[in-house]
């Protein structure tokens, strides 16, 4: 995806540079050809595959019930995040989310006070945390590491500081850490 966008960006920049550096070349292309080529043909070639890929990926990540996916409960509250791991003995963490790498998890997101929004830019899109309603976000972290999340819906004076960390570990490590938290008194 990244390299594809890089190629397209380079193509546009080369075309732009040629119009400055070789005006004769640019003049040989009529305005109609520019409009049809750049405005119709190029998007017609690029957009449908991207849309198809996004739709298939989106379907694969739908949190359909009964698939045995690890469940994590996310509760937002002015101005912090609590994460619960009911499948791992009911451990909880505050402002620190543990995730297994390479496995989908279902985050059941809600709020106890006002509307917040769960957002880890490197892992998934935003999803609102709404009082009295539970929204489910299925996400999969493809590699281990530390990522950062942030409330993405203005929720009060401490909104800007309503951040959390995401620790993504190998699945065995994830189980060991979360089971260890559950065993703590």
């Amino acid at each position: 995806m990244f390299f594809g966008s890089l190629v397209l960006f380079a193509l546009v920049m080369v075309a732009l540079a040629l119009t400055f550096l070789c005006p004769n070349w640019a003049r040989r292309v009529s305005p109609a050809q520019w409009i049809i080529g750049g405005g119709l043909v190029l998007p017609a070639l690029v957009l449908p595959p991207l849309v198809a890929w996004a739709l298939v990926a989106g379907e694969r990540l739908l949190p359909l019930p009964g698939q045995g996916v690890t469940r994590i409960e996310v509760v937002a509250e002015q101005f912090g995040w609590q994460f619960g791991y009911p499948d791992q003995g009911g451990a909880t963490t505050v402002n620190l989310l543990h995730l297994p790498a390479g496995e989908p998890v279902d985050l059941h997101i809600t709020s106890t006070d006002v509307i917040h929004s769960f957002w880890v830019p490197q892992l998934a899109g935003k999803l609102d945390a709404i009082p009295g309603k539970t929204n489910v976000l299925r996400l999969q972290a493809d590699r281990t590491g530390t990522f950062y999340g942030q409330c993405a819906e203005f929720c009060g004076i401490g909104h800007a500081f309503m951040r959390f960390e995401v620790e993504v570990r190998e699945p065995d490590d994830f189980l060991r850490v979360v089971d260890g938290l559950a065993a703590e008194p």
């Binding site: 449908p48 849309v51 739709l55 989106g58 379907e59 949190p63 359909l64």
Partner: protein, 102 residues
């Protein structure tokens, strides 16, 4: 070139006006259907009917405009109608294949 009547300007927004009504209806039908747990087949049928009605309306307008390209404004209007038809099929068509509710 014949003079342009002010009402002709409405032709410019007709195509994407219809695209917008399709968006509102599809959005509303989808949200209400999922909230009231209608069967997925019923939601899909409703979405398909909304889509078909809009495609038919756009085709009818295109058919009507094809004979009225007497000035630039009406030519542009015809092409916006064609663009709106493509946009309607491209943006709402895949809805019929996707899982409607979770």
């Amino acid at each position: 070139m014949s003079p342009t009547r002010p009402a002709s300007l409405l032709w410019l927004v007709a195509g994407f006006g219809l695209w917008s009504t399709a968006l509102i209806l599809v959005y509303a039908l989808h949200a209400v259907g999922c909230a009231f747990v209608w069967p997925p087949a019923a939601i899909r049928l409703g979405l398909a009917l909304v889509l078909l009605a809009h495609v038919a309306a756009l085709l009818a307008l295109i058919h009507h405009q094809r004979r009225r390209t007497v000035n630039l404004l009406l030519q542009v209007a015809l092409w916006t109608l064609v663009a709106a038809l493509v946009a309607t099929a491209f943006t709402y068509g895949p809805l019929l294949l996707l899982t409607p509710c979770v």
